[in-house]
């Protein structure tokens, strides 16, 4: 029954409704990975790929470490090799080194890899070394299923350079067994006089996290803490900071740039909105687990996913880890949009607007492109198309540590998660609704994708981490970042940054 239901939902989602069951036997016998759905017809289905002959050709891929994204890359490479006769070599590289690993040969004029995995915000630096995705794939029914914001993230001013294989965003994760627990609600009300509910603002988030910090509230004999966040000064820290900043600094009534004022290219990063967010964040160091300001993404996932904290916000991983079958807190966590704020900075009037504001941050996520200098571009695109074909995508979604997250419209069907992953219907519903609402929001912030993007984000990490460590006040820290940003703009060339930033602003202002 379960299988039939999944098949149906899969069949409905793919535009071509033939009979998936007919293929299911033939291909799922050979490839147990897709046994839940069988082959799903499409341009790059198992059936179609088996007709290709790439014997004698080699495809070289650099991907992320195992298992997140790395394992599906290797698995689909193995399947692709079996189907087409190609030889596929895959290397695995930790996230922080993916950029340099591809950039060094690119700059040296070489293309040792046909396919390079990276993050979507590399696009500006990488696009001149990548081949645009051919029309054939862009017009395919499967690509039409990809959400608009993920098409936007993969494209540069209308040209698609990165093949969508994954969707990423930041959202709030919370412990349902606490927040929705009437006893806890009563206790919280008695002690603080406030409602215990899914936090709508970062201030509420902070209050609750502080209240639930440092005592054993789930009765497992270990202390629990308020919040797990990426605070370690590495390349992901800036994303956590922006997630906190959007609430105070992204104002729908002041279009023309979140990070910079597009017209003057003056950084907004030290305006009171960002400063307020950083002040909150400094406060947050009081309700993270011991050692929390040295938490990288891995620690955050372990901490929240292992049941150590009440809240967490960033990529899907921590949520998925908590929802694994062997997790002690399976079905005890909830997903919600990022908290907002009770006031938002208006940089035109130079004053606060006292109204509720919430803005989703469509963070960068996994992205993959084909090298321009590759000699097997056809095969490379076929591989990527095969990677994300209906059957593979559905099977990958169901395996938590694969790191493949929803990016197709058909993925926002709660039944997928209820049936194949055993989620509580309520959790699955709130999860898909949270993600879908982000797609619909008009107040989105897209990642910074300008030349030298790493210089900008690294400056943010350095500045904010000085504030978290108490070396500088939030205002001083962000003033320093702003000064550094101006210097970078000067070095890179104002025009180049401005032109690139305009593309992102166009998306934010809902003009693309």
């Amino acid at each position: 029954m379960k299988i039939i239901k999944t098949c149906l939902s899969a069949a409905i989602s793919s535009v071509l409704i033939f009979s998936p069951m007919a293929y299911a036997d033939k291909w799922s016998d050979q490839f147990p990975h897709i046994k839940a759905t069988g082959d799903i017809p499409g341009d790059c289905s198992y059936e179609e790929m088996s007709k290709k002959n790439y014997k004698g050709k080699t495809l070289k891929i650099n991907t992320h470490a195992v298992p997140v994204i790395g394992q599906p890359t290797a698995l689909h490479a193995e399947q692709f090799a079996k189907l087409t006769g190609a030889k596929v070599d895959v290397t695995h590289t930790p996230a922080g080194d993916l950029y340099a690993k591809a950039m060094v040969p690119f700059k040296a004029g070489q293309a040792p890899y046909d396919i390079v995995f990276g993050f979507s915000n590399f696009i500006n630096d990488w696009k001149r070394y990548l081949a645009p995705v051919p029309k054939k794939y862009i017009n395919s029914p499967e690509m039409k299923d990809v959400t608009k914001s993920h098409i936007g993230v993969s494209s540069w001013d209308g040209t698609m350079y990165q093949y969508p294989v994954d969707g990423d965003r930041h959202y709030l994760k919370y412990r349902k067994d606490v927040i929705d627990n009437p006893e806890m609600q009563k206790k919280y009300k008695a002690d603080t006089g406030k409602e215990l509910r899914v936090p709508r603002t970062w201030k509420e988030y902070g209050e609750m996290a502080k209240y639930f910090n440092g005592w054993d509230w789930d009765g497992d004999g270990e202390k629990e803490y308020g919040s797990a966040e990426v605070m370690k000064k590495d390349d992901l820290m800036f994303a956590a900071f922006f997630s906190r900043s959007v609430a105070y600094a992204k104002n729908l009534s002041t279009p023309g740039g979140f990070f910079f004022d597009l017209e003057t290219m003056k950084p907004n990063i030290n305006n009171p909105g960002f400063v307020e967010a950083l002040t909150d964040w400094v406060e947050a160091t009081k309700y993270v687990p011991p050692g929390g300001i040295n938490f990288g993404l891995g620690d955050e996932i372990g901490s929240f996913g292992g049941g150590q904290t009440l809240f967490s916000f960033s990529w899907d991983d921590a949520f998925i880890a908590a929802m694994q079958d062997d997790s002690p807190i399976k079905n005890k966590v909830g997903a919600a949009p990022l908290p907002g704020a009770d006031r938002v900075w208006n940089r035109n009037t130079n004053g606060w607007e006292n109204r509720y504001n919430q803005a989703p941050y469509i963070v960068w996520g996994w992205a993959v492109g084909v090298a321009k200098k590759s000699k097997v571009k056809d095969m490379a695109f076929d591989y990527l198309c095969f990677f994300s074909n209906g059957a593979n995508h559905q099977a990958d979604l169901a395996i938590g540590n694969f790191g493949v997250n929803p990016f197709k419209n058909s993925d926002f069907d709660p039944n997928i998660y209820i049936d194949t992953m055993g989620w509580d219907p309520e959790i699955a519903n709130s999860y898909t609704k949270t993600l879908l609402d982000m797609e619909k929001s008009k107040n989105r912030v897209f990642p910074l994708r300008v030349p030298g993007v790493f210089e900008f984000t690294s400056a943010v990490a350095t500045g904010t981490s000085k504030a978290l460590a108490g070396q500088l006040s939030p205002q001083e820290a962000l003033d320093e970042v702003a000064k550094e940003w101006e210097a970078i703009v000067q070095r890179v060339g104002k025009k180049a940054v401005q032109d690139a930033y305009a593309v992102g602003v166009k998306m934010e202002d809902n003009k693309l």
């Binding site: 590495d234 011991p290 050692g291 300001i293 790493f454 000085k466 978290l468 210097a487």
Partner: protein, 286 residues
């Protein structure tokens, strides 16, 4: 002795080294005069990078001071502990072979991997150190306190590289000539005097060599900082080499990183020469 032979001995090594390195070194100098980064190629911008480094980058100089503190402290500790250990297992001790081998092992671990273990070891809520210390009401912030984090880095470095000193000094001790010790024994010298007037002076040349090479290696400290703290909290544990790594491979400002490396190289060559001279003067009194 025939004059030509000395070149036959020296040149193969020297020429292989120069042959492999000549291009990279010249290229680094050229790179340091360019704005090579993620969007520019090998253009020529004169001394702009150096001007920026000397006038507008306090972070580099702060990280250099921090590096000096870290490397000098770790090397002194490594030398003292390494010498003590080597001297202790030099002769007549139980389980001599076992201890000698055991004390070598930390050096053989790959820093990139071993430091991950150390990070879990010092993890403030999931690691064993604080788990044990919490029984005594203590929970030091090993990795998140700006001062303590420096010492955690030092602990890890001392653990990893004391064996280097240990091995070098033990080998030195083992190849010491016997005669001076016999003479000292005949004089009835006390162990302390024997150490100060016989052992230590004989060990001085190898000590200088060991200290210099450790200073070079300790100054490149990278993996430990990267994995343990990423230079944090704030910039509390950021060293020059880590800063160059951030600028070079993370932000891909290769031109600027090259100018920093080259400056670093010059400073290091000068200070190491001075240190070597001073050490020679102090340790080899004649």
């Amino acid at each position: 002795m025939n004059f030509k032979h000395k070149y036959v001995f020296l040149f193969p090594g020297l020429f292989v080294l120069i042959g492999i390195l000549i291009f990279p070194i010249i290229f680094v100098v050229r790179l340091s005069l360019s704005g090579w980064n993620s969007y520019n190629g090998l253009n020529f911008i004169g001394l702009e990078n150096y001007v920026r480094l000397f006038t507008d980058d306090p972070r580099f100089w702060q990280s250099f001071l921090r590096l000096s503190f870290l490397s000098v402290t770790t090397v002194i500790l490594q030398y003292v502990i390494g010498f003590a250990l080597a001297h202790m297992v030099w002769k007549d001790i139980k389980f001599q072979r076992f201890f000698r081998v055991l004390f070598l092992i930390p050096m053989m671990t790959t820093p990139v991997i071993m430091t991950v273990i150390w990070r879990t070891f010092f993890h403030e809520s999931l690691g064993p150190v604080n788990d044990i210390l919490s029984n005594f009401g203590m929970s030091p912030k090993w990795l998140t306190d700006p001062v303590l984090a420096k010492f955690t880095v030092i602990i890890v470095e001392v653990w990893q590289w004391t064996p280097f000193m240990f091995l070098l000094l033990l080998a030195g001790l083992l190849s010491l000539p016997k005669e001076p010790f016999l003479a000292a024994a005949i004089d009835g010298a006390s162990p302390v005097r024997k150490f100060l007037y016989v052992t230590f002076p004989l060990m001085a040349p190898i000590s200088i060599g060991a200290i210099i090479i450790r200073l070079i290696e300790a100054s490149k400290i990278m993996d430990t900082v990267y994995v343990l703290t990423s230079g944090g909290p704030g910039t509390a544990t950021e060293t020059s080499s880590f800063y160059i790594f951030i600028k070079g491979l993370r932000e891909f400002q290769m031109g600027y990183a090259a100018s920093m490396s080259f400056t670093y190289l010059i400073i290091m060559i000068i200070s190491l020469t001075v240190i070597a001279k001073v050490l020679t003067k102090v340790l080899l009194k004649d």
